[in-house]
Every structure is written in structure tokens, then in C-alpha cells.
Symmetry: C2
Subunit: 235 residues, 2 copies
């Protein structure tokens, strides 16, 4: 963790927090912190700054907090992702949060196995946990919004056109399509398919909703790799 | 697996292979293949093409092979990577192979924990296994070369300058450096640091060897994410 994320409930005074949970364990076991040290901290949804460790024992850590720094800018992107397999989902959520995606839609697709929708990793608390890990990694304080769309057609027909309006719509898909553009400054709506890719019907529906198919070359990348590669190329 | 990788030992005739190992299991359990089906195949180190499944039972699969397609081009890059933690190493090896890196140097750094060098995942057979998974994912047949350098200074002083010669040398490092360049066509030597980054002495030595520090923004990315993001941006 490159940033110690604080929540309102941690504050015992305007500039003091007391921590008792996994963050305390992390301070002991990974950070091997000692009283007096200064750590990077951030208030979830708020500013970032410094925390001086006043006290650290087996049950509590107390820090004096100063927050004066704005978190890093988000990317101007809405990411639509065919729901990945549960293990991949957890990592992708971290990647999405760490790269600064502000809005993620997890979407059904023909090639998403039905069982993937049963995973406990889709519970709001589990999603939040992975997003927090991504924020701590990247030094950001603002949680991405995650929207779950279990039905492809109603989402793509009824809600996607509004999301795409005013943005450049792109769908990553291998094939004889233009290469994915680079270094955009305009807002983008980007759709990335499941392992095995979108089926032709889905590409057609996404195109009708305003997304243009683009490709990244002959190599088929894992979803997680495709997410970071496409975002790094686009912005 | 998007490509069934074959080795010389699998061939029972010029155009016939028999498979009995994890690939057989994969054909049954993941691919749920049936006799008559055509599969994408590739000869390790050679060409790619089609394999028609002549026979598939509990102990063997036999395929009729036709190879006529060149594997995808590699990226013009040598990647120097501070040795990641074992779990990350396995995924990074897959990422490196799937993105088309032809040469990877795993390097020591001050912030690489000594225990990381003891992992069985550094055994040649374990490295090869992860690289094969990356090739199967991306549909490539050519294994990257992996070089292990357990001592930073002798490598950077004595061997790195020759590797960098004739290439654009870059070292990813957060800070007040130029932004990482985009869409290069020249060959590149790229160094990516450990979790926590290179120490100043290391950046200095890498710079002396011909690598220019470049940054990717304020966000600190996991090594695996940084690898795919930097490669996607550079090429």
C-alpha cells in the first residue's frame, strides 16, 4: 500500500485518527512502521497528505493528519467490461481503480459463463475491497463507480446510447478494424469483451449504440492485460 | 488457450501429432473438443496453422497438422525487470510472452527482497511453463529469452551498455522526468523497477549505462500493470 486510506469513522479529532483493522496489521507487518514516522495518507473521497505516527502498539495506531493535496485526475473514460471470471475480476477491479477509471460497467455477454454471476466477489463489499486496494496502490482516494448489468440487450439498447453521447465510443475487438487510436484528450466510452471475444451480434449491437470497433494487433491478450494496454494507449 | 502449442516430440509422422499431457486434459475439460474439429495449432519455435482432431479419447488425442502461417512479430524491445515477488513473477512472465517481448532480463535491485531469489518459480522449467501459457494466450510460438542477473552493479556496468547500444534506453521511474514517449518504431531497452521503485543510486547507474528516466504520471502501478501499460504506450 502506497497510501494509507482513512475514512471519516477513523477520526477521533479534526486532525487525529486511530486505526485498528487490516491497516494496523499492514503497518506492523509490511510497513514495519515505528512511532514518529511520516506516512502518506488520504481521506477516502477527499484530499491526500501526511500522517505522523504518534503511537503504534499491538491494538492501535494513532496518527496526526494533515491533508492538503488533491488526488490525481481520473481518466476521461467509461469502461464497459464483459464480466471476467471471478479470480480475474478481483485483479481487474484493482487495475481499474489504480489506473484512474472513474466508471466501470460489468456487462453480460454470450461468452460470459453463467456461473461467473454467482461469485461472492460481486458483492458490493467485495468489490469495494478490491477497489480500495487499487486506490492504495496508485495513491488515489476516489472510488470508481461500478455498475452491474446482467442483461446485455436492454443495457446496450436502452442505456448505452446515453452513456456514449458526447464521447468517442470504442469497442476492442480483434479483426480487420482500424488500430486503436492513441493519446486522446476527448472523453471515451470503451468496451472490452470476454475471454474468447464478443460474438458478432454483440459487436453489431455495440456498434449501433455508437461504439466503433478497433483492434490492438494479432495478439489475444488476457482481459486484465488488455485493460491496462488499451487505457495506456488511449490516454 | 487460444493456440495449441506442439513440440517436435509430439510428431508421429510429418503431419501427425499425438498428445497425452496437460494439453489432452485441456482439450477435454476446457475446450470440450470433439473428433473432427479444427483447432489453431503452432509448432514451438516454428509456424502456426490448423490441426484437425482425428481421434480424442481418455488417454490420447491425435491431430492432422497443417502449418503455413508465420507467428506474429515480436516487439523491438529488451525488457529489464527488477525481480518481482514470486506470485507476480508468474503472471509477469505470461504478460511478457503474450505481449511479444523477445528478451527479458530479471535483475536484482535494492528493494527486491532476498527471499524472492529462492523461489522455485525461477527454475528454468517453471519459467518456461509460464512463458508457454503466455504464448498460448496470445497465439505466438517463439519463446522469449529470459536472462537472470542476480547482481545489479556488474550487470549494469559491464553488460548493460552493450544491450543498450543502438537502442533507445528508457527507465520507468516516478518523478520530475519527461513523460514516457509514444508509438516508437526504433528498438528500445526498457527498465522497470521493483515495488517501491529503484533507489536513486540505481537510477544513476542505469542512466550512466544509457537509460533515460521517464514517468507515466502520478499513479504508482503494480509491476504487471506497468509492464503492459508501458509496452502499449511505447509501440
Amino acid at each position: 500500500m502506497n497510501l494509507l486510506l482513512l475514512e471519516a469513522a477513523d477520526f477521533v479529532a479534526a486532525d487525529r485518527v486511530v486505526l485498528r483493522d487490516r491497516r494496523l496489521t499492514h503497518l506492523h507487518e509490511v510497513h514495519r512502521a515505528e512511532a514518529g514516522e511520516c506516512l502518506r495518507v488520504g481521506l477516502l473521497g477527499g484530499q491526500m497528505g501526511q500522517g505522523q505516527l504518534l503511537r503504534l502498539d499491538a491494538t492501535e495506531a494513532e496518527l496526526k493528519i494533515e491533508l492538503q493535496q488533491t488526488p490525481p485526475a481520473k481518466l476521461p473514460v467509461t469502461l464497459l467490461l464483459a464480466l471476467p471470471r471471478p479470480k480475474m475480476l478481483r485483479r481487474v477491479l484493482q487495475t481499474v481503480a489504480s489506473m484512474g477509471v472513474p466508471k466501470l460497467v460489468l456487462l453480460n455477454s454470450y461468452r460470459v459463463e453463467k456461473s461467473f454471476w454467482q461469485t461472492p466477489f460481486l458483492e458490493p463489499q467485495a468489490i469495494r475491497e478490491q477497489l480500495l486496494l487499487g486506490l492504495e496502490q496508485a495513491r488515489d482516494t476516489v472510488l470508481p463507480e461500478v455498475i452491474i448489468e446482467k442483461r446485455f440487450k436492454p443495457f446496450v439498447e436502452d442505456r448505452l446510447p446515453q452513456l456514449v453521447a458526447g464521447t468517442r465510443g470504442l469497442v476492442g475487438h480483434p479483426g480487420d478494424y482500424p488500430a486503436c487510436p492513441r493519446a486522446l484528450s476527448e472523453p471515451v466510452t470503451l468496451a472490452i469483451g470476454p475471454e474468447g471475444g464478443w460474438i458478432p451480434y454483440e459487436v453489431e449491437k455495440l456498434t449501433e449504440a455508437g461504439l466503433q470497433p478497433v483492434q490492438l494487433g494479432d495478439r489475444i491478450l488476457r482481459v486484465e492485460t488488455a485493460v491496462s494496454a488499451l487505457l495506456a494507449r488511449l490516454f
